[in-house]
């Protein structure tokens, strides 16, 4: 029991670290700001989906929150942090609802999450700058969110169908 808990914490810690590195690496190596500000693939969300698949909702929300906090340690707790936090919060709420609804696959969850992440960010910018005009930018985030959500789900599906964490755990115990 204790061994299982330690293994679980170890896996979650590793996945969190990978998520932070992917998140930071993507912002450096894959800047998509020439399309529109805030547009990114969100490759780190692959880790979120993997955590959701293997460990469940509580871990998904916790890892997502910790990733936002740890990424902010690199980029600072300023404007970026509040935007990321708002995106994470709205996306998590939608994922929680969809998870309990239990009708969507990894693709539907990922799409809804990616789109709502963008909506959360825009709402936060609109609140901070007190400008409603920025909602003109929402359709772009919807379309890019749908596309990136599908891509992220595809990557996450390939990972979870090829890597079995339980098998790895059993091999470790031997």
């Amino acid at each position: 029991m204790i061994k299982a808990s330690i293994q679980k914490i170890t896996y979650l810690g590793l996945l969190l670290a990978i998520g932070v590195v992917i998140s930071y690496g993507e912002s450096v190596l894959l800047p998509l700001a020439f399309i529109a500000p805030g547009v990114k693939l969100g490759l780190a969300n692959t880790i979120g989906l993997i955590v959701l698949y293997y460990f469940g909702l509580k871990e998904y929300v916790s890892i997502g929150f910790l990733r936002v906090i740890l990424t902010a340690l690199f980029t600072g707790f300023g404007f970026n942090f509040f935007i990321a936090l708002a995106g994470w919060a709205l996306a998590s709420i939608v994922v929680i609802i969809c998870y309990y609804w239990n009708r969507l696959s990894i693709f539907g969850l990922s799409m809804a999450s990616a789109v709502m992440h963008g909506v959360g960010q825009i709402v936060m910018v609109a609140i901070l700058y007190q400008t409603i005009y920025i909602i003109n930018y929402l359709p772009i985030l919807f379309f890019t969110g749908i596309a990136s959500g599908l891509l992220i789900a595809l990557i996450a599906r390939e990972v979870v169908s090829r890597v079995s964490l339980t098998t790895t755990l059993n091999e470790y115990e031997k």
Binding site: L104, T131, Y133
Partner: protein
């Protein structure tokens, strides 16, 4: 714990369709309700407040000095030409706002987050 299905379900198609329809409607609505082009200005925000408003159809450039706006990482050069606006020079870790280039759509922001600086084409108040 209910594991999420890995294969597409029909509800995924519904969600996809709803999102696409909503995004398309939003696109139409935001374009229909956009004011005529001559009623637009460039608003410059610093620390979440409007600090400047510039004419969109007057070719001009402005330098915002770090000395005047201490949260800037360095001076920022704003350029307005033929109804388009861009951040010509700035200092930030990834230079997202200068990479973004020219913007002529109202509502499309140029956000220099680490500088607490944003430029957006908006209707004249």
């Amino acid at each position: 714990m209910n594991k999420i299905p890995l294969k597409k379900t029909r509800f995924d198609i519904y969600i996809f369709s709803i999102l696409m329809i909503f995004a398309s409607l939003l696109l139409v609505v935001t374009n229909v309700f956009n004011r005529p082009a001559d009623d637009l200005v460039v608003n410059v925000y610093y620390e979440f407040n409007v600090i400047d408003t510039h004419e969109l159809y007057v070719n001009q450039s402005f330098v915002y000095k770090k000395d005047d706006y201490p949260r800037l990482l360095d001076d920022i050069t704003l350029e307005i030409t033929n109804g388009k606006v861009r951040i010509a020079e700035e200092t930030s870790p990834h230079n997202y706002c200068s990479i973004q280039g020219w913007v002529d759509d109202s509502g499309m922001p140029i956000i220099c987050a680490p500088n607490y600086f944003m430029v957006i084409i908006e209707e004249r108040l």
